[in-house]
């Protein structure tokens, strides 16, 4: 099944070629969790502060479905 992964800010630096507004389209097996995708993309889990699936908060063990839009944000805190 296919999912879209939207990466923001410093998380973009971990994935070669990733750009804001240009989601990664991944083919993943049924049963894939958010945590599986984070690992597959090589993102440090502690740098992922916000996990949203189709605009709703989910945890790392959330199982993804066909067509899901996964967005991952680091903690942005400067001022």
């Amino acid at each position: 099944m296919r999912i879209e992964v939207h990466l923001y800010a410093t998380l973009l630096e971990y994935v070669p070629g990733a750009r804001l507004g240009a989601p990664q389209v991944l083919d993943v097996p049924p049963g894939t969790t958010v945590g599986d995708v984070v690992a597959r993309l090589g993102l440090p889990p502690e740098e992922v502060a916000i996990v949203m699936v189709n605009g709703v908060h989910r945890d790392a063990d959330h199982v993804l479905a066909e067509g899901d839009r996964l967005a991952l944000f680091p903690p942005i805190a400067g001022g």
């Binding site: 800010a9 410093t10 400067g78």
Partner: protein, 245 residues
């Protein structure tokens, strides 16, 4: 001679009523650094009647790369006092109140109590958690902004809508925070925060409620991401301490 607020008054939908709302408003800006410099300048220029500043630091040389409220002659001065002087030089028609302290869990409820709306121009997550808790408890709207390197984000929280902890469920500081920030990034994010304040006060347009605007200046891209209230949020939802879920 045209008046100070001529360009506000000429805006579609703004008019004298909009200007009167700004003049009657009390807005607290927490932090007078990179974000706060832009927010404070624009709110003062726009004629927000009473502006509070919470800032406990003094001006240092590395601040001057982006904190445009301050000049080299201000080095070593309390930021809150230097900011107040600069804002009143820009617009002597407003009131500027300063609190030379840091916002934390203990001080936040008292600091936000006297204001209609709060702007987050802080530089750390613990202060934002304290601000969120105080604003949710007091039913105050607040405008969040944050920056890092070449990126920044803005969103607005209002009573009944999603709160900071609906967005960041378990916010922790970055393990390896990056110190670098391009000066125009807090400038742009702070200007957007000021626009949210003016929109809230005048009732114009659509606020960034449930929407996180993300700005990335290197690829020159902007994205708006929607998010929802978390019904079991420990701060604003059924997961609150002292309430039965």
């Amino acid at each position: 001679m045209a008046g100070r607020y001529d360009r506000n008054l000429a805006l579609p939908g703004f008019g004298g009523a909009g200007q009167a709302r700004l003049a009657a408003a009390r807005v607290l800006v927490v932090g007078a650094g990179g974000l706060g410099s832009a927010v404070l300048y624009y709110l003062a220029a726009a004629g927000v009647g009473a502006i509070g500043i919470v800032e406990g630091d003094t001006v240092t040389l590395p601040n001057l790369q982006r904190q445009i409220l301050y000049a080299t002659a201000d080095l070593g001065r309390a930021k809150a006092e230097a900011a107040r002087e600069r804002l009143l030089a820009l617009n002597p028609e407003i009131h500027v109140e300063v609190a030379g302290t840091r916002l934390d869990e203990k001080t936040a409820p008292g600091l936000v109590a006297a204001y209609d709306l709060v702007v987050d121009a802080t530089d750390n997550i613990p202060a934002r958690l304290a601000l969120n808790a105080a604003c949710v408890a007091a039913g105050k709207p607040w405008v969040h902004g944050a920056v890092c390197t070449y990126t920044g984000q803005v969103t607005t929280f209002v009573p009944g809508g999603p709160c900071y902890c609906c967005l960041y469920r378990f916010p922790k500081p970055q393990a390896r925070p990056l110190r670098g920030v391009l000066g125009p990034v807090p400038g742009a994010v702070g200007a957007l925060q000021a626009a949210e304040v003016i929109k809230y006060l005048t009732g114009l347009g659509e606020l960034l409620v449930g929407r996180l605007l993300v700005l990335e200046v290197l690829p020159a891209r902007c994205a708006v991401f929607t998010y929802e209230r978390n019904p079991s949020c420990p701060v604003c939802g059924s997961g609150q301490q002292g309430t039965s879920a």
